[in-house]
């Protein structure tokens, strides 16, 4: 199957990759900003409120207002902070989140129509960098993202920041194990680390989706994904009720905003991985085109994160550790062993 694909695929030019990179950067950063609006709206509706309403129709331009506010706000660096690390820590979070997206296939391959000037006929691949260790690269990059909150918390000379960065280390390191182990079983089935191969593995329609073969891995990865992206049931890094804002306590303005662009980009990455690895990716489903259905799936997982945030309470750090090491990791290992046995038979 791979040989056939290689023969059919047009040549990937650097122009195509550049266009894809621009698409990722432009669309995802816009969507990440828009995600804040969606989150506020969804949370508001679930609490029978209106949410942002006054900037633009139904508050749609709220992101512009927020952006202007964040950009023009005074950039405060605390006196006793380690100033260099304090300044570069937010860019680590944002950069790793976007680098991880480089290896994520979002839309199917397409060729820009000939009638468009300059770029007509350029083949745009589904993925900016189809590295053969795609899923490892993404998970590794998201793991490297832990340096953002970790360094930010330690550099700011603030006790809440220190607690936040300690929790960062504890939470991200434990849930890396669960993401890695839960992803191992699908990798064993597909026999490849490339997300394109994951997608092609599930091209047999609804019943060929990975979720039916690996429901346990799906649930484990979903739970671990919430922890990796610092979403609410595992929102310990900046748990407002306990540690003010955790690692982001001393940040203001655009540096603070970069943490949240990174967080929303990570949410999109996790949603894309869930959609591509477990939910059939961007294959056509019946009469619905692949690019449409994958956007729908990604949007569903994004919505699920907001929905869960509106519904469930935080858990304590000890419960977080207990869940990771005593429940999720053993279940993931058992899942891998059973998958291996079934594959050998």
């Amino acid at each position: 199957m791979e040989i056939v694909n290689l023969a059919v695929l047009p040549e990937v030019t650097s122009a195509g990759v550049a266009i894809k990179a621009i698409i990722i950067l432009a669309i995802i950063s816009a969507v990440a900003g828009f995600g804040t609006f969606i989150e506020r709206k969804v949370l508001a509706f679930m609490q029978r409120r209106l949410g942002p309403m006054h900037v633009g129709p139904y508050g749609l331009l709220q992101i512009a207002a927020d952006g202007i506010k964040l950009f023009t706000k005074e950039d405060i660096v605390p006196q006793n902070a380690n100033k260099l690390i304090f300044k570069i820590a937010p860019s680590i979070t944002a950069a790793t989140a976007f680098i991880a997206l480089a290896a994520v296939p979002v839309f199917p391959d397409f060729t820009i129509p000939e009638w468009i000037p300059l770029l007509g006929g350029v083949f745009v691949p589904s993925i900016a960098a189809d590295v053969n260790v795609g899923i490892l690269f993404i998970l590794g990059m998201m793991a490297a993202g832990l340096y953002g909150p970790l360094l930010a918390g330690m550099a700011q000379a603030n006790k809440w920041g220190i607690i936040g960065s300690a929790r960062t280390a504890v939470q991200f390191l434990s849930y890396e194990v669960v993401t890695g182990l839960s992803m191992l079983a699908p990798i064993m089935l597909v026999g490849s680390l490339s997300l394109v191969d994951f997608n092609n593995y599930q091209d047999g329609g609804f019943t060929s989706w990975m979720i039916w073969q690996q429901p346990v891995a799906f649930v484990l990865f979903l739970i671990a994904g919430f922890a990796e992206t610092n979403r609410t049931p595992f929102d310990l890094l900046e748990h407002e009720a306990e540690i003010i804002s955790g690692f982001a306590t001393e940040y203001s303005g655009m540096r603070w905003g970069m943490f949240f662009i990174g967080e929303y980009a990570n949410m999109i990455t996790i949603s894309v991985i869930l959609a591509v690895v477990f939910m059939g990716g961007y294959n056509d489903l019946g009469f619905m085109a692949g690019w449409f259905i994958v956007v729908f799936k990604i949007a569903f997982f994004f919505f699920l994160m907001l929905w869960v945030r509106a519904s469930w309470p935080h858990i304590r750090p000890d419960q977080l550790m207990w869940l990771s090491w005593k429940i999720l990791m053993p279940v993931a290992v058992v899942n891998i062993v059973i998958t291996g046995i079934v594959m050998m038979i």
Binding site: V42, F45, M46, R48, W307, V308, A310, S311
Partner: protein, 207 residues
């Protein structure tokens, strides 16, 4: 009964009995079963259901709780005691106040000040009438004591101002002569809110 037990501050040493509110599992297997039970008892999914139900009710069934306050206001109860209104007689358009001075007498915060004189028909005429809203506690005695229903509490509750002790003059509170047709009669202190029917909720008899 002596006061001894109340004077004892050593709360930690008293023989408190710990009430077991739920069965606590002793073994590791029991704790594991509790986790499984809690996971599959749909507690988590009930939470998700509740928020989704609220979202659908909010968006599609008009159960939005938020009111865009400066642009839309909830109707207030007729019992509400806001800034006073001075009403006019509907037939002649003359103000109802007969200058009897009862409101000035009964005012417990001494914020009503009025001056009267006899006019050419030997009727009492109000020359000065002010209410000091920096002092007024909106108790409603003036409206209750008024024999002519001349002074009532209106619905103007947005009375933030630069100066706390702003006086309100008789003319400010008096119904404008061209708005006489729109003058609302005071329903009385027992009246219900205009939207009372919507606000009523069924109460189960089991309460």
């Amino acid at each position: 009964m002596s006061l001894e037990q109340f004077k004892n501050r050593n709360v930690g040493e008293q023989p408190y009995v710990l009430i077991e509110s739920e069965h606590r599992p002793k073994s590791g297997m029991g704790r594991f079963q509790r986790v499984v039970n809690r996971t599959f008892k749909k507690e988590l999914f009930t939470g998700l259901y509740v928020t989704m139900r609220e979202m659908i009710n909010t968006l599609f069934r008009g159960e939005m709780a938020a009111v865009k306050y400066p642009f839309e206001k909830l109707p207030i109860s007729p019992r509400y005691r806001a800034i006073h209104d001075m009403l006019r007689l509907l037939e002649s358009g003359h103000y109802r106040c007969i200058g009897c001075g009862l409101c000035e007498k009964i005012c417990i915060s001494n914020c009503i000040k009025m001056d009267t004189r006899y006019d050419e028909n030997q009727r009492k005429e109000v020359t000065e009438y002010t209410i000091n809203f920096g002092r007024c506690i909106f108790c409603g005695y003036c409206a209750e004591v008024c024999p002519e229903l001349a002074i009532v509490h209106g619905g103007r509750y947005e009375n933030a101002s630069e100066q706390r002790a702003s006086f309100s003059l008789f003319e400010d509170m008096l119904t404008p002569i061209d708005a006489l047709k729109q003058q609302q009669e005071f329903d009385g202190f027992g009246a219900v809110t205009p939207n009372a029917d919507n606000a009523i909720k069924k109460t189960p008899l089991a309460y």
